[in-house]
Chain length 244, copies 2
DNA sequence: CGACACGTTGAGATATATCAAACGTGGTGG
DNA sequence: CCACCACGTTTGATATATCTCAACGTGTCG
């Protein structure tokens, strides 16, 4: 089931079996996309939305010099551009980071689903509001944390999100992105990310080698990133908040 | 009419006269709030949402040392916590920056409005997605711009948003916030904001004195902030994009 | 008039960027 | 099988933006 991971473990918006199956029925087709491919460009009119099934994707904006700022990172189960349904076109680009499997749902399918299952409207809306909650956490990360804190915060968040969809055991997960990607997420340079990762590794907090993140000292990582998972609205045993 | 400014000049989601009047009828009461008052705390259960009628408000998160990061700035016409309707509680605090007039709409009123006017569901959803678009722009600002650029970007954005609701003539508006607030928006210290504002003023780009912002050289301000107003989804003569 | 919040300025410390180069590694073609 | 290439990682030296701490100025309001 392509939609299995959508809204998994989210307080207040778990899908009923029936809702999940009508959503699944709305999937028009599934396809595989190579790594580092832009699948949606800012401004184009959209009549369908994309559910990420496998792999990692991102949203990004370019600055004048062509440098990217990632403004979103997506894990399996995320509807990467559900907001295009009410908005009709996007103000940013969407791309794959790794090779990805995506399921496409035409906007007409949402019209029908909402008509027949009114509760779904609120749950789809809710899903876009989770994205917004993540944006706020990212703003905090960029505005208030130093380089080590930003990386720690991102790793805590990603660990929690992956755990919610069964892709992390809580201390270890596969993250097939480069240090340059991490730099574009954290508003840093790749060189600095490298140095900071080294120091986190040497301190025994967390390591990130050949696409595997291993958290060795969760308490320190949480504290470094001043991470509090409330904004993810998870209903499961989430990693504890850093006690700040 | 308290709701007059809500969704003014937004492409794709202008309210019909009837929709506006049912929304207006949903306003349970209107009140005045002093400056610098937190009106919603993270985590509390909410059964109503707040429309900002006059004044400025913000959303914020605190770091470990108690320093604030503003993650949202609100102008009249904004529903500051409409996302609490699907989400039920928030992950951040909401406060006034200046003295403000707010209109309160119970969530039950939204239930009724959506039932009778199905198109309103999409427009309310759309409104929360505009907030998300602004978050993305803020991420770009914090991740990719230097201090001068961040301030310029914020002033361009605020000018455009105020112009959409008739509170800026396109070059001049009242902004009753302090340099410390600006620092908390831009992820800078108040001292540095002060220095950068001075240099922007001395270069003849923009001035900000006794609560009045005056844009003297729009082209330079836009360029400094690498500002492109597309993300605001305005249907009016917006300030031109910086040509980058 | 005094208190207080806000704005302004200076000197010095520090985090991060920049530029440059070397290193490893997996894939590809000869 | 080796040589090579592309890409990502690692390291070093230096530059610079921003922070920090501290003091002083200025306007407003009781």
């Amino acid at each position: 089931m392509f939609t299995d991971r959508f809204l998994r473990h989210r307080r207040g918006a778990v899908l009923t079996a029936e809702e999940r199956s009508v959503l699944e029925a709305g999937v028009a087709h599934v396809s595989s996309v190579p790594a580092r491919e832009t699948i949606i460009c800012a401004g184009e009119a959209l009549s369908q939305s994309t559910l990420l099934v496998e792999g990692y994707m991102c949203r990004y904006l370019d600055d004048r010099r062509g440098l990217r700022q990632l403004v979103g990172f997506h894990v399996p189960g995320d509807f990467v551009d559900l907001h295009a349904y009410p908005l009709q076109s996007l103000d940013h680009d969407v791309a794959t980071l790794t090779e990805a499997t995506i399921a496409t749902v035409p906007h007409a399918a949402f019209d029908a689903i909402i008509e027949d299952h009114p509760g779904m409207a609120r749950k789809l809306w809710y899903s876009t509001l989770l994205d917004a909650a993540i944006y706020r956490a990212w703003l905090f990360r960029l505005g208030r944390l130093d380089a080590g804190g930003r990386i720690a915060h991102f790793l805590c968040e990603t660990n929690a999100r992956l755990q919610a969809v069964g892709l992390s055991d809580g201390r270890r997960f596969t993250l097939g992105i480069t240090q340059t990607d991490l730099a574009e997420i954290c508003g840093l340079t790749a060189v600095h990310v490298n140095r900071v990762m080294r120091s986190l590794r040497e301190e025994g907090v967390v390591s990130f080698r050949s696409s595997v993140v291993e958290i060795h000292d969760m308490a320190r990582l949480l504290r470094h990133g001043e991470f509090n998972p409330n904004y993810l609205y998870l209903d499961m045993d989430a990693p504890p908040a850093s006690s700040y």
